[in-house]
């Protein structure tokens, strides 16, 4: 009996030792001392070989505390050229003597040059990585990804990781860009119903040369990244969207076009527009606009071509007021509502025809509505929605209700 108990104890002890040995490898390599966390990853075409990739990793180092106790930027940037992302990570592991971990990677930056060749392989490889979260944002940059990362740090946002997490959220109250996660891109690339967009980033620092910095020909909001009239301490900006057909970059949207996209897809909480003043067409009136309810979208197939109806419902409040303003008068408010309707209808119509005729990319996911007319998946594939989207014609209705001004209603 006593021998049995001893044998049992020895057996349990042996088991514990075996399991400690078996799991120690996984524990050791995944312990925080042996990991180096990338907070951003940039993908460019390699300088030496256009077939290769130049991957930039922005790595966090041990953060220090400032006088106020707040965290400070503490990052290093390393660059490696390799034939694939995984090879790049492997080479980087050898260089930094730690395992590079993407668990805290907030943003993937891809240069226009790479995106225009197709990025399905890169996106699929990254989504296949167990460390990277599917909620990491993807930015397509008009400059190189390396320049974008180098210029992203700023004193305004002390912690660059926080900046990477928060900047796409500004779209909810500006409508000039939107959150695009790697999970969204992955889903979109394998979809037969719609195409993708991604955040469009660029440099705003006039000292750094880009092809088209500060070209503001079309008004305040007719800009994309790299064209804004902002001169700031941070060297990067995010205006507009990059448009994909499949996995290939085919064009870009300006800030106002991005706003139209977000209005249709119900992804904006409030935004500002400048409509012509009914009493003085030379000046404009700024309004704060918010959706009254979700846009109503219907898609019919007429003679084999998509006929898309979009009805947008908005509420607006007036920002601009001058000495002769009277916003208690219902005629004045109705006039402003009509001007806002016409302005937005024109913008949305132009935007939609740009997506169908010029970009040939259904980024508003109208395919999700069109598919209701098909009973089987085979019928849908045979119709070829994404190829037929270029034949679409649109009927846009905007119903804006200008409610009042803010604190002053009459002057």
């Amino acid at each position: 009996m006593k021998t049995n108990k001893t044998v049992k104890k020895i057996f349990i002890l042996l088991l514990v030792i075996i399991f400690i040995y078996a799991f120690s490898k996984s524990y050791t390599t995944h312990s925080i001392d042996n990991l180096s966390y990338a907070i951003a990853m940039g993908i460019d075409t390699a300088d030496s070989d256009p077939e290769k990739l130049k991957i930039t990793f922005q790595l966090s180092t041990i953060s220090s505390s400032g006088d106020s106790g707040s965290a400070q930027n503490s990052t290093v940037t390393n660059v490696v050229e390799a034939s694939s992302i995984d090879s790049a990570i492997n080479l980087m592991n050898a260089y930094i003597d730690k395992e590079l971990n993407l668990a805290h990677c907030k943003i993937i930056i891809i240069s226009e040059e790479v995106a225009s060749k197709g990025i399905a392989t890169e996106i699929y490889s990254l989504i296949n990585n167990t460390q990277l979260r599917p909620t990491a944002n993807v930015v397509i940059t008009k400059c190189t990804a390396n320049d974008y990362i180098k210029n992203s740090e700023s004193d305004l946002t002390k912690l660059v990781t926080k900046y990477y997490s928060l900047f796409p959220d500004s779209s909810k109250f500006t409508g000039y860009t939107t959150t695009t996660t790697i999970g969204d891109l992955f889903n979109g690339f394998s979809s037969y119903k719609y195409n993708n967009t991604a955040i469009l980033g660029g440099l705003n620092n006039p000292e750094i040369e880009t092809d088209d910095t500060h070209n503001t020909s079309g008004g305040d909001f007719d800009i994309t990244s790299g064209q804004s009239p902002i001169i700031g301490e941070r060297g990067t900006e995010n205006f507009g969207l990059a448009v994909f057909d499949g996995d290939t970059l085919v064009g870009e949207l300006t800030a106002i076009e991005t706003l139209c996209h977000l209005i249709i897809s119900n992804k904006v909480d409030s935004f500002l527009i400048a409509v012509p003043d009914p009493n003085d067409n030379a000046s404009t009136i700024d309004m704060s606009v918010s959706p009254k309810k979700n846009s109503k979208i219907s898609v019919d197939i007429v003679n084999g071509m998509p006929y898309i109806k979009v009805h947008v419902f908005l509420n607006a409040k007036i920002f601009t007021i001058n000495q002769n303003s009277n916003y208690t008068n219902s005629n004045n408010l109705d006039d402003l509502s009509n001007y806002a309707n016409i302005y937005l209808k024109n913008q949305i119509t132009d935007y939609l025809y740009k997506t169908s005729k010029e970009l040939e990319s259904d980024i508003d996911a109208f395919g999700n509505y069109a598919i209701r007319h098909f009973t089987t998946f085979t019928e849908w594939i045979d119709y070829g929605w994404l190829d037929n989207y270029k034949n679409s014609f649109f009927d846009i209705n905007v119903d804006t209700n200008v409610q009042s001004s803010l604190l002053l209603t009459e002057s």
Binding site: L15, I18, F19, A22, F23, K25, S26, T29, H30, Y124, T130, R133, P134, T135, S165, G183, N187, G188, F189, S190, S191, Y192, K193, A365, N368, Y369, I371, R372, F374, T375, T376, F377, T378, E379, W380
Partner: protein
């Protein structure tokens, strides 16, 4: 072991544990791959059929109060049929435990233990199963009763937390790959309700055996709701059935859950719940295999049969050398085994036994077959 009587909730949890564990792994992927956007219609359709089958099984067992399928086989074909059916069920249980264990441990290895041999992950589960089986039937059933609601709630939470990522339009085209794919070849998705296999073994364990039908219908309806939530989650979130496949789609869906900057990476919590659920499931399969073994061999110390059974599970779980073979095990062999054994042979045995029963005098004592 028949002294261990279980209540209605424990019986329902027992049936649900099969559905839960298969759903966590490959089942939703299999269903959505088969029927695409018509998966929800298909699962309601096969759910109704599963209810009919479970009612049929309960009605067929009505004449054999307190009998399980092994006892019924003894009544019908004597010891030969009893032994054949018993061995088939033991093989079915051990194979499905091994196959599921391999798939789950592969996912665990990929996600967390990339440098640890899968053997050690499987061994950890088997040690847990060994310990729980030594605690006895009642403790497994009671633990299962605790874990099943948590596992069910995890799926409800997964569904609610991901609603912001849903695209409801993915339900179109409503018939997916067509009428035939949804309603004819889609019948293969009956495997989703494989939990009804326990209906054949429950009667001797039930405190109120007359409530078998109620237990059967309730468990199939809960399974149906559970499957609808799981399939809706992956159908509304992913396009994967069109071009790509994910290893563990519900785990992938869990990776999307975020509540602000504070609550992120909840996927580990889901895995923890599912690990406990899987350990319970394998324990239940082993304890039922032991019970069958006891019946067909009449051995006194049936507890020692746990060792060969755990070794067989270990062997099966180490058999697949790659994902393709693991897929073959889970999506082909397990599916065919379910249709042939659970819906084919067992139902035939029950029907023939009922025919035989109707021909014997009412005064005959059935207890001699137990």
């Amino acid at each position: 072991m028949t002294n261990n009587k279980i209540g209605n909730f424990e019986a329902i949890a027992l049936i649900l544990t099969i559905v839960i564990n298969h759903t966590v792994l490959t089942l939703p992927k299999t269903i959505v791959s088969t029927t695409k956007s018509s998966s929800l219609i298909n699962i309601v359709y096969v759910g109704i059929i599963a209810i009919c089958i479970s009612i049929l099984i309960c009605n067929l067992l009505k004449k054999f109060v307190g009998f399980d399928i092994i006892d019924v086989a003894t009544f019908l074909g004597g010891n030969t049929l009893r032994n054949i059916l018993g061995i088939l069920f033991i093989v079915y249980f051990l194979f499905s435990a091994g196959s599921l264990l391999h798939n789950f441990c592969s996912c665990l290895q990929i996600a967390f233990y990339s440098l640890t041999n899968i053997l050690f992950l499987i061994l950890l589960f088997l040690i847990v199963v060994y310990i729980t089986c030594n605690f006895g039937f009642n403790s497994i059933i009671k633990t299962n009763l605790l874990i099943v609601p948590i596992a069910l709630l995890s799926i409800v939470f997964l569904f609610i937390a991901n609603t912001k990522n849903f695209n409801l339009q993915r339900i179109f085209p409503i018939l997916g790959d067509g009428f035939s794919a949804t309603f004819v070849s889609g019948l293969s998705n009956l495997v989703a309700f494989s939990g009804i296999v326990f209906l054949y073994f429950l009667p001797p364990y039930l405190k109120e055996s007359e409530k078998l039908k109620k237990i059967a219908v309730s468990s199939v309806i809960i399974s149906l709701v559970y499957l609808l939530l799981s399939i809706s989650t992956i159908l509304f979130m992913f396009n994967f059935f069109t071009a790509t496949e994910e290893l563990m789609p519900l785990y992938s869906a869990a990776r999307y859950i975020e509540f602000g900057n504070f609550f992120q990476r909840l996927d580990s919590v889901f895995l923890l719940i599912w690990i406990m659920s899987l350990a319970c499931y394998v324990s239940i399969l082993v304890i039922f295999s032991m019970s069958i073994m006891k019946k067909i061999t009449n051995i006194k110390h049936y507890n020692s049969t746990i060792y060969p059974f755990l070794l067989i599970i270990l062997g099966v779980s180490l058999l697949p050398s790659n994902a393709s073979i693991a897929n073959l095990f889970e999506n082909v062999i397990y599916k065919y085994a379910y249709f042939i054994l659970v819906l084919g042979i067992s139902l035939t045995v029950l029907i023939l036994a009922n025919l035989k029963h109707s021909k014997i005098p009412e005064s005959s004592n059935l207890k001699e077959y137990k």
